[in-house]
Symmetry: C2
Subunit: 222 residues, 2 copies
DNA sequence: CGGGATTTTGATTCCAATCAAGTCCGGTGG
DNA sequence: CCACCGGACTTGATTGGAATCAAAATCCCG
């Protein structure tokens, strides 16, 4: 078992991932390729970096992964959050155009490109299409929309905890949410607080959100 | 030959497409499916609307197409501009999640879904991957970036006129560019004017742009 | 408990949106 | 050929919403 390293998170939005730190585990019950080791990554580990050779694409088994782009000035744009079943790291060219990092401790399988060709598997093709649809929705979300609209849409798109419907456990920080929505962490916080004051959501803790009035959220999302 | 109808373009960003108005032409030299009629659309015609059954996906032969989303309040987000060779209208579900319209007079081929399955054609799969890459880049562009950065990136991504390198003929209006970049038409105009004042581009006319200092643009794009 | 990271909240600033005139340009008709 | 018309574009003045700067509160983990 590997230990979570302390992270020197001083500046805003700067790269703060610990270096790769994963444990390969052979599994029997994996549906994909004949030989797909499951890897475990600790929270905030980098799975791959922008510019790395894209020999594999990946599928999340458990936990959450973020794919993102870093700019020279330290700003970061998160492309997406990926949970169990999601594909990520699919590339046209031979190198990754984004970085991928573990939001929480997580397990993923790597699938060698060409080995199991996407076109060979209807399952993978469907995954690819889903990725495309999400990317397009994300672009629409980032365009001319206000902070409330963005946050409302984000909350509505979030997967609810199994069983307890309308209860959301956030795995990511306000900074992560901001970098995904194109807002600052302060604006995200303020907006969420306002939603609570308006009795639209409940905040037992910062990372626990209960949707009290889904209709109102849908209204705000526009 | 069909006539271009007068358009009542009064409000900003409101739907202003003329109703479908296309001419099917049978062609022999089409590589795709065995039976792919080429259709012609006049400028500003709707090719399909959000919610329409997605029986086909499409490929641009000539001219330019925009795919976009309309909001209840009249705002519009343009998802992308598509030129010769580009695929558009690929959907996961059974209906279109965006609308498609002709930016200029254009010719496109429709490819029936399932008939020529994407997975059956490496060519189509590559097209799909390219679409995905573009959608991701677009999302990154719309996130936390300033007006100048957006416009610079837009100009650099534009296809230059054949032969005369660095000469761009804009097919779209300032409003179109704004709805693509998540800016108002005024901000787009101001930014372009500023670039001219800074001697980075030249504007013989509003729709003709000559890039004088590509390095500077790249610098601004970040 | 203690300490650091995360989150909330407040005050102020700034960039882009909005509101409001003009100007330019391509097309049309006299 | 020129005057005129309408849409597209430019430019100016002002406003507004989110960013930034700053500090306090809270949570989580050892």
């Amino acid at each position: 078992m590997t230990l979570q390293l302390a992270i020197s998170a001083s500046q805003r939005s700067t790269r703060q991932t610990v270096t790769a730190n994963w444990t390969p585990i052979r599994t029997e019950n994996e549906v994909e390729a004949s030989f797909a080791p499951v890897m475990h990554f600790d929270q905030d580990c980098e799975i791959y970096g922008e510019g790395d050779a894209a020999e594999y694409y990946y599928k999340v088994v458990s936990g959450m992964v973020r794919t993102c782009k870093f700019f020279a000035d330290g700003r970061r744009q998160i492309d997406g959050f990926h949970v169990a079943g999601d594909l990520f790291g699919i590339e046209t060219g031979c190198e990754h155009s984004l970085s991928a990092e573990a939001v929480s401790d997580c397990s993923i399988v790597a699938i060698r490109r060409g080995n199991a060709d996407i076109s060979a598997s209807a399952h993978l093709l469907a995954g690819l299409m889903r990725v495309l649809g999400r990317a397009q929705e994300h672009a629409v979300l980032l365009g001319r929309r206000s902070a409330v609209e963005k946050v409302a849409a984000f909350l509505l798109a979030l997967p609810c905890g199994a069983g307890a419907k309308d209860k959301i456990a956030l795995a990511m920080t306000r900074q992560d949410i901001g970098d995904y929505l194109g807002l600052t962490l302060e604006t995200v916080s303020r907006t969420i607080s306002q939603l609570e004051r308006d009795d639209i959501i409940d905040l037992p803790s910062a990372r626990q959100i209960k949707i009290k009035d889904r209709e109102a959220l849908i209204e705000l999302r526009g």
